[in-house]
Symmetry: C2
Subunit: 157 residues, 2 copies
């Protein structure tokens, strides 16, 4: 499980890097589909990951406002801070948690913790796919979505 | 691991269903970014999944041509056939395979089997994110990317 979070975080950092060359008005431009703008999509990814992963730890939800994070620099810092908080929980993850019930205040459904961590993983990958289209529309080469070739997995022997 | 494949297959079937209402010229229209067209993206997803998952089983690669699968009906049938072949392998998957070395004829790198199955999962989610943008551009509501709420996970007790 941890490897796919590490993958997402690596890809996210590469997107932050790429976005530094995009003018602010393009980062904030409302686009068709997805979460709206490039910058808001990045904010939304952080927010969803942090909320759900705190939720399954039964920690209270922390509300943040996009208005306060409208630059790549601010988002990168928020991402770094939240990641540092979440990483130990994910490092300690075992498959025994997969079927444990999770209840979060903002959703009525009954979910398992395994379901939620996979939801968070897929959520980021999905939105990064949307960013890749918008990057091409801006004439930029998107960040690679490859999981392979990132040195995330060690071989036996 | 299996649950994220089941998620991808469920989402894929929903995309096949949605795409039945899109005219063929729109399905085949070259778009900016991604793999090119909606139909080719779906073909590419199937092809990548099948090739890598046969590859790590050390089965010979089977080449198929997009020219032969240029309709949703044909792609759905191909998807059903390949999925039926791949599912038993993924059902029998255990984490002991994660660090086993895998070598496929079309790639020079040394990968692990766990790395490749995660690559295949992320690959499909990424491309589905691209399809979601194109669907909105066509005025359609995209298939939900949610992992939660699909009944894929059983709770304890």
């Amino acid at each position: 499980m941890l490897q796919l979070f590490r993958y997402n975080w690596m890809v996210r950092d590469e997107w932050f890097q790429l976005c530094r060359q995009i003018p602010t008005d393009e980062l904030l431009r409302e686009r068709i589909g997805g979460a709206g703008s490039i910058l808001y999509t990045l904010f939304h990814i952080l927010d969803v990951e942090y909320s759900w992963l705190r939720g399954i730890q039964e920690k209270p939800d922390i509300q943040v406002e996009f208005e306060d994070y409208k630059s790549i620099q601010q988002l990168q810092e928020l991402s770094d801070t939240w990641r540092a908080e979440l990483e130990p929980y994910l490092e300690a993850w075992t498959s025994s948690l997969d079927h444990e019930a999770a209840k979060v205040p903002w959703a009525t459904g009954q979910y398992t913790k395994g379901e939620i961590v996979r939801h968070v993983i897929a959520h980021e990958i999905h939105h990064m796919g949307q960013l890749s289209i918008w990057a091409r529309e801006l004439g930029l080469r998107p960040v690679s979505a490859n999981v392979i070739g990132r040195g995330l997995f060690k071989q036996e022997g």
